[in-house]
Structures are given as structure tokens and as C-alpha cells.
Amino acid sequence: MKKLINTPESVLDDALAGIAAAHPELTVDRENRVIHRADAPRPGKVTLISGGGSGHEPLHGGFVGPGMLDAACPGEVFTSPVPDQLLAAVRATDGGAGVVFVVKNYTGDVMNFSLAAELAAEEGIEVRTVLVNDDVAVEDSTFTAGRRGTGATVVVEKVAGALAERGAKAAEVASVGERAVAASRSFAVALTAATVPAAGRPGFDLPEDEIEVGVGIHGEPGRRRAPLRPARELVAEVVDTILADHTLSAGDEVIALVNGLGATPLLELYIVYGEVAARLAERGLTIARNLVGNYVTSLDMAGFSLTLTKADPELLELWDAPVHTAALRRG
């Protein structure tokens, strides 16, 4: 393992120290491991809180700021935050208008957020939860823990954050988040495995000429192994897999997120984006908005994920609304 760390045990604490130093517009509570807006709490504004294992940067801390999240709780690497941490985030940011949790569908995240919601309720704070489960690589059945939450998390945080910023009620903020989840599908391909610092070695071994198809964001292997092929062929499989599961038809518009998994250069991500745009055009679909870059990563995993969100006027307007965070800024 070759990483820019001090010790495997101090990765999260040392990163939080760096985030605090880099972003004076954020408050970093290093003891409770909460990153929140410096101007929180804001009376009357619904509070949007997310969190999850570290290693997915800029998710979630990079999306804290006006127009997106009020607070983010980073857990240990690839491990969900704990209820105490989430409760500290609620207390630090609650402005009396209610709290909406954005939770990626992983067993540990779901349990810890749900315990935190119970604790908050005991303090008289109403919490709603938006569960993100966009990964079509996982069969959504009683034989799995359900679909994983991946790239769509960024879309959900953006549109729900924009609506919360406008003073919407908690039920409306949660509802638009759920609508964005329902409109989104994702699929990912890995060229290399991630190395968790505490483990010290890659999560799986992959020969030079093979890839993992249908990976998540936690370093676990995907649904199958396949030979490496040109980007055009890989993108064709990814797009077709998503479309087979999506309710998109010719003439529809989408928000397309071509997301790097951590170790893939932008040069390659743009090659992927070009192929995505061409493939979607062949199917009569238009990309109304896009993001190309590293947004929901998996440490040093090479590869990409594609998220397609079916667009409508409301989602587009919220997508375009001003946002001022470390990782996403416009307006």
C-alpha cells in the first residue's frame, strides 16, 4: 500500500483537520466528526443531513454549503457514521423546521441513521429519511439487501438542497428527494480495486486485462468479471444496462453524471462522456445537464459510474439553482 497518510488509524481525523484548514466557510467539529455550514442553525430552514463511510470524497463533506447539505457525517473508511455523530449533526444544524436525512442503501447506514432518527425523535426533532438506491447492478429482491445507493446521491442532495434553501417544508424536501431517486439509475465498471488503509491491500485482485462489471463504491467485487474492452464497448454495455431498467423513452431528457471512482483521469472520463452522449443520442435521448468528474469515489478505485436521472422542469430548475460547496459551485 502506497498512500499519503500518517497512520491507517488516523486517516479520518487527519483528513478532517485538512478540511477544516482548507474551508473556513465550514465548521468542522472534529470531536463529533461533523462537517456543517458555519451559519447553522438557520431558523425556519429544513436541515438536510447526509453521511456515510469515508473514502467517497467529495461525497458528503464536499457538498456541505448553501444550496446543498447543512451537515455531513463521515464515518470510518467505508463504514457508516454512528448514531451519536448523526445526532450531533442534527443538534448543530436543526433550525426548528425539521430534518431530512439522505441515506445510501447499505445495511449499516440504514441501521445507524434509523437509530439516530429515533434518538432525535426523543428530543422532539422530526426526521424524515430519503433512501437512495439507484444501482441497477444489484437485483432488488428479497434475496439481497436491496439496491445500493451510489451516484444518484449527488443528484438527490442537489435538488433537495435547492428546495430546502427556498424554504420548503420537510415533507416537500423529502418528497423531491424521493422523486429524484425514483428518476435515477446508475451502473459502474471498475478497472482496479480500492485499497482500504486499515486493510493495506486491494479489496480484490484483478488481472491487467480484466475488469469488474457492476461494482459498488465500497471496494467489494462486482457482479461479474469481464475482459477489458475499448471505452465505446464498455459504455455501450453500461448505457444499455441502465436503459433496460429505466423508464426512459425517445424524446426524454436526462441529467447525466459521468463519475470517476477515484483513480481515473478526467481525460478518460471525457472519453466516456463522449461515448455516453453518442449512445444516448442513438436512442433519441437528450442530455439536458451533465456532470463529469470525481463526485462519488471509492478511494483509489479506477473506473467510472454512469447515473442517468430522467429530467423534468422542476428537477432541472432545482439542479440549476445556485450552490456554493467545496466540490460544486455555481450561480
Binding site: F78, M111, N112, E139, A198, G216, E220
Partner: protein
């Protein structure tokens, strides 16, 4: 040798468990890397180190239930992931069922049955899903049988440890239906479940603490 669970034995159990986790964290992490994300050992190691510090700070008049309950709430607040809430709830609920200064084998088995129920409620898993339940359920059943048959705590805890270990080994051919390993589908077959393995380790720690 003891035939009841008292405060000292509860403390000894947790310290033995922490030492076992410390010794075997790399093995647990390797099992987790095969079908999960490779942090089970390091997460439990962090959690049990905090557990030992927390229970050592308890008053001398603490009941075994208080000790286990404190261990549970510490795991919930330190571990994260799924194993924090699952092990944490198991110990908290088991602890709440042990209010007296000492508990006999029957009471211990009942308390651990309640703890198992908390895990099943939280995780929704059953035997055969390739989770910690595959070790936990047979271990509790062994304790119950041993209590019914009038065995000593020493004999019962040894039988429970063996049952948990057999249950953990039996997860190897299974396909995971819960937790992160379930995302792998058929690819999860052929690997021992890390959660069932750590559960077996905790029951072995009980047997060792009773014998010591």
C-alpha cells in the same frame, strides 16, 4: 470455576473477547475483504478497545447486566457499519435482561436469546442468510439445551462455542442474502462469513473466560 454469570465474569468475558479480536482482527478483515469491504476486523478492534475502557470505568457494584449493557452502547457509539448496531443491540438487550447481581445458566441463555432477537429484528436476517445469525442462533440453542439438561456453565459455554464455530463454517457454501456480501450474489459462495466468524469468536471468549 463459576457456575453463574457475575460482574467479574462479564468483565472477563469482554476482556477475553477484546484480546481475541486484537489477535484475530487481520483474519476477520481478510474474510471481509473476500465478500465485503475489508474492515470488519479493524472496526471490531476499535470497538472492543473502547468497550474495555468503558466497562473498566464502571462502579464496583455494577451488575453483569450493566456491564453487558455498557459494552453494547459503547459498540453502537464507536463502531458504525452494521456490526456496531447489531452487536451493540445484542449486548444491550441481553444486559437489560440480567438485572440481578448473578445470573444462572438459564437466565444467561434467556438473555442471549433476547439479544439474538434484537439482532434479528434490526437486521431482518434468518439462519441460512450467511450472517452472524448462522453462528449466534446455534450457540444460543446449545446454551438452552445445556441449561435444560442441567449442564454446568463451563460445559454449556464450551458447547455454545463449538456450535457457533460449526455455524460459522457452515456459512462457507451459502449465498449471502443480507448485508454487503449479498451484492455479490453467487460470488459470495465459498467464503466464510466474517460476521458469523466474529460471533463464534465471542462465544469462544465466553467459554475461555468461564474456564479461566
Amino acid at each position: 470455576m463459576r457456575n453463574d454469570l457475575d460482574r467479574e465474569l462479564a468483565l472477563a468475558w469482554l476482556r477475553t473477547a477484546a484480546a481475541a479480536v486484537e489477535r484475530q482482527h487481520e483474519e476477520l478483515t481478510a474474510l471481509d475483504a473476500a465478500i465485503g469491504d475489508g474492515d470488519h476486523g479493524s472496526n471490531l478492534r476499535r470497538g472492543f478497545a473502547a468497550v474495555v475502557a468503558a466497562v473498566d470505568a464502571l462502579d464496583a457494584d455494577a451488575t453483569p447486566g450493566t456491564v453487558l449493557g455498557k459494552a453494547g452502547s459503547t459498540l453502537i457509539s464507536k463502531v458504525g457499519g452494521a456490526s456496531g448496531p447489531l452487536y451493540g443491540s445484542a449486548l444491550r438487550v441481553a444486559g437489560a435482561a440480567l438485572p440481578a447481581p448473578t445470573a444462572d445458566l438459564t437466565a444467561l441463555a434467556e438473555a442471549l436469546r433476547a439479544g439474538l432477537g434484537a439482532v434479528q429484528k434490526l437486521g431482518g436476517a434468518a439462519v441460512g442468510d450467511k450472517t452472524m445469525i448462522d453462528a449466534f442462533e446455534p450457540a444460543v440453542a446449545a446454551l438452552e439445551r445445556a441449561a435444560f439438561d442441567g449442564f454446568t456453565l463451563r460445559e454449556a459455554s464450551a458447547l455454545a462455542a463449538e456450535a457457533a464455530e460449526a455455524g460459522a463454517r457452515a456459512t462457507i457454501p451459502l449465498q449471502a442474502r443480507k448485508g454487503r456480501a449479498s451484492y455479490l450474489g453467487p460470488r459470495s459462495v465459498g467464503h466464510q462469513d466474517p460476521g458469523a466468524t466474529s460471533t463464534a469468536l465471542l462465544f469462544r471468549a465466553l467459554a475461555e473466560a468461564v474456564t479461566a
